[in-house]
């Protein structure tokens, strides 16, 4: 059954897919740090309030993914933010996450050099997200 995007179930499924991926463990063995995802509100698309999500990764392991408040989201090692429509495009692999960053469609706060160095890890995490059967609020 399709999971509702940005729900706790959806985050849990994403976390599980990362935790069970041997390929991810190998690729991400040097990654250290938390990543928060901020979805800007878009009432016309069914997102009345901003969504703050916390994801955490450490040397090939993924820890718990959960909702958080704004302050915690902004304390992550890497803070990625953007409009709902852009996150949807990324989650459906209609827009490459690196291209979204370069075009300014998503914003990143954090050490960009580190992200580029570990872009293989980033791509794998997004690939696993895109593989989930997801239904979006405006579908």
């Amino acid at each position: 059954m399709a999971l509702k995007a940005f729900s706790q179930e959806w985050m849990d499924a994403w976390l599980k897919s990362i935790q069970t991926s041997q390929e991810y463990k190998e690729i991400a063995k040097e990654w250290e740090g938390s990543v928060s995802i901020i979805v800007n509100p878009d009432p016309s698309k069914g997102i009345p309030e901003p969504i703050y999500m916390w994801t955490d990764y450490w040397h090939g392991e993924a820890k718990d993914f959960h909702y958080c408040d704004k302050a915690k989201a902004e304390s992550a090692n890497f803070v990625m933010s953007g409009e709902y429509i852009r996150w949807k495009q990324v989650a459906k692999k209609e827009l490459d996450s690196t291209k979204a960053l370069m075009q300014g469609k998503l914003k990143l706060k954090g050490d960009l050099t580190y992200v580029v160095k570990h872009v293989k890890t980033v791509n794998k995490v997004v690939d696993l997200l895109a593989a989930l059967d997801t239904v979006f609020p405006d579908d």
Binding site: Q89, D96, K99, A100, L112, T113, V116, K117
Partner: protein
């Protein structure tokens, strides 16, 4: 005087030693704007297109644009143009740095140099006065030494100089600005050397007048904010252009082992921007007035390839002296970059010629005796360092490579030409058309031969920029299909070419909103050009240079990709993918108004206001 321009150009005849100023009508400036576009217009109007590139009558032009000297970020660019000794067709190269704003402060928008001096000279520009001076003592010095001597009396003097490679007419000789910025492609340093012009120096106190200074200041501030907000700009500032080494390996962009291998993540990590910045960067450096500051200043303190603190390699050099040679030692790339800078050689063509040699050495086409006893095994950088000096000084096997890859392969014979990866004689830059089919089309149709900077395809097809307000385009293209690419490249050329005429850095074209650039240009010049006008200026530029090339002998038969990049890779992100050349060309020719010979149709020339070209092509 037209706002944004210094108001005069300089004509120098080195045979007679006469320097004279001239002006250009505003109507011409509005059509061709500046940079290499205006250079092409001057060329076709006044000079013999059929002369040998190294003959005294062939002109060398140093051209700025109206935004240069304004202080707007990214506008310290300038173009050097003429006929390329490497390709035998239209040649141009551009760089940023410090020279062009100083040249305008010294009173000149452009310089056209013909003739050949009986002895080495340098040209001095200062507040509207041009003088030639003896450079006999400088002849033989490298670019760094020459620059130090010429700046000794006053550090604020800005210098353009050639090194031994230019003096020795190496076909890919470069011209250096203040030891940090290089006019590399198409070998125009050899044209400068053929004229025995060692250097040009500029110092001035003039001030650029703008049409609307208040509006300009507002836009200049907006540009700084846009740069600050841009992740792409942040990436360039943090890692330089070499950030592309890491990301490019995932998309099949990076050429490896003379374009024969598809993937090597160990190489991209050891050679990429993060490693360059973490291990060897001493500081970031900016061209005049640019708030992006993408340039690397690096030093290698230990090991066999120690360098002095100086300009670090761009992505292109990390490709040509790194992945292309199967060399993962970044210190060796930094050293090769320093040597090429000193000798004055284009790192793309130089590295490509060495990659070709390594392949031929491995195949047995070249023996150790053929290459002066050097062991040109893949990755052997100990052999590369002395080979660079041999090329610059035309010694032994270096003399063969100094002719450029294609001519060297023809001289070597057997099947060597099959291993040369070029379009119209210019070695491909470090972006694989099997990963990005549109780039393949751009290589085929770029007017100086295979080029990644005569258009904005790098930004649009790879997803660094998206400009739906300019033309219909998607946010995300699949690089490995040829659908929709002809129109993307056509549009990306028409806009990206403005980098050459406005003299604005391509990175700023990628980062800034087109409205900001257009409005700043209009605030400086008062021309009030629309996007439609500017894109038409881009079309005119492309068509004029194409016509010049047609007159120099280019036809549709030359619009072709080399066999190597039409051979599918067996590994990596672009495995199995090759551009559909026939389809891309067919669609592009229709958009560009080219006939089956590859000539612009008469009606296209009329539409773009190019009567001089029309009369020459259809007399």
């Amino acid at each position: 005087m037209t706002k944004g321009y210094a108001g005069q150009f300089l004509r120098v005849d080195l045979s007679s030693g006469v320097c004279e100023n001239f002006t250009i009508d505003e109507a011409i400036l509005r059509k061709f704007i500046g940079g290499s576009s205006l250079g092409a217009k001057l060329y076709i109007d006044s000079y013999n297109l059929h002369a040998d590139p190294l003959a005294p009558e062939s002109p060398l032009m140093v051209m700025t644009g109206p935004m240069v000297g304004s202080g707007f970020s990214g506008t310290s660019r300038f173009a050097v143009c003429g006929k390329s000794p490497l390709t035998g067709i239209w040649g141009e190269a551009a760089c940023g740095g410090t020279f062009s704003p100083e040249m305008k402060r010294a009173g000149y928008d452009g310089i056209v140099i013909t003739g050949a001096s009986p002895k080495p000279v340098y040209l001095s520009l200062a507040d509207g006065v041009a003088k030639l001076a003896d450079a006999s003592d400088l002849w033989g010095k490298d670019i760094y030494e020459t620059t130090d001597v010429l700046k000794a009396p006053d550090k604020s003097i800005k210098v353009l100089a050639i090194g031994p490679a230019g003096e020795n007419l190496v076909k890919f000789a470069a011209i250096g600005n203040d030891k940090a910025h290089f006019i590399g492609r198409t070998g125009l340093g050899a044209v400068m050397g053929s004229k025995r012009l060692k250097a040009i120096i500029a110092r001035g106190s003039g001030r650029l007048e703008k049409a609307d200074d208040a509006r300009y200041k507002e836009l200049a501030r907006a540009a700084v904010q846009e740069i600050k907000d841009s992740t792409l700009a942040g990436s360039l500032h943090a890692m330089g252009s070499d950030a592309a080494m890491v990301t490019g390996m995932f998309s099949g962009d990076v050429p490896i082992k003379n374009w024969s291998v598809g993937e090597d993540f160990d190489l991209s990590i050891s050679l990429g921007g993060p490693t360059l910045s973490e291990k060897y960067l001493t500081r970031a450096h900016a061209c005049s007035n640019c708030s992006l500051a993408c340039k690397r200043v690096v030093v290698v303190k230990d090991g066999p390839y120690q360098t002095e603190e100086g300009p670090g390699p761009e992505y292109e050099t990390c490709g040509s002296f790194g992945t292309m040679l199967m060399n993962g030692d970044l210190t060796a790339v930094i050293k090769a970059n320093e040597l090429c800078n000193r000798y004055g050689m284009d790192t793309i063509s130089c590295g490509s010629a060495i990659a070709l040699s390594m392949e031929l050495y491995e195949k047995g086409t070249l023996s150790k005796a053929d290459v002066d006893g050097l062991d040109l095994a893949w990755g052997n950088m100990e052999a590369v360092m002395p080979l660079l000096k041999k090329i610059a000084c035309r010694e032994g096997f270096g003399d063969t490579l100094a002719e450029g890859s294609l001519n060297a392969a023809r001289k070597i014979g057997k099947d060597a030409v099959d291993s040369v990866v070029h379009v119209k004689g210019l070695d491909l830059p470090m972006h694989d058309p099997r990963g990005f089919h549109g780039m393949g089309l751009a290589y085929m149709m770029s007017n100086r031969g295979a080029c990644h900077l005569q258009h904005a395809a790098l930004a649009t097809e790879q997803g660094m920029a998206s400009w739906p307000q300019l033309f219909d385009m998607k946010d995300d293209y699949n690089g490995q299909i040829s659908d929709e690419k002809a129109v993307l490249i056509y549009n990306s050329e028409n806009y990206g070419i403005l980098g050459n005429s406005l003299s604005i850095c391509h990175y700023l074209i990628y980062v800034l909103q087109p409205e900001t650039i257009r409005d700043a240009f209009n605030a400086i010049t008062g021309f009030n050009l629309s996007f439609k006008d500017l894109l038409e200026a881009g079309m005119r530029d492309w068509t004029l240079k194409r016509g010049i090339n047609n007159l120099m002998g280019v036809t549709s038969r030359d619009d072709v990709l080399p066999r190597r990049v039409l051979t599918p890779l067996t590994d990596g992100a672009a495995a199995g993918s090759v551009p559909d050349m026939k389809r891309l060309l067919s669609e592009y020719y229709a958009l560009r108004g080219l006939d089956e010979r590859g000539f612009p149709r008469e009606e296209k020339l009329a539409e773009l206001g190019l009567p001089e070209l029309r009369s020459m092509l259809y007399k």
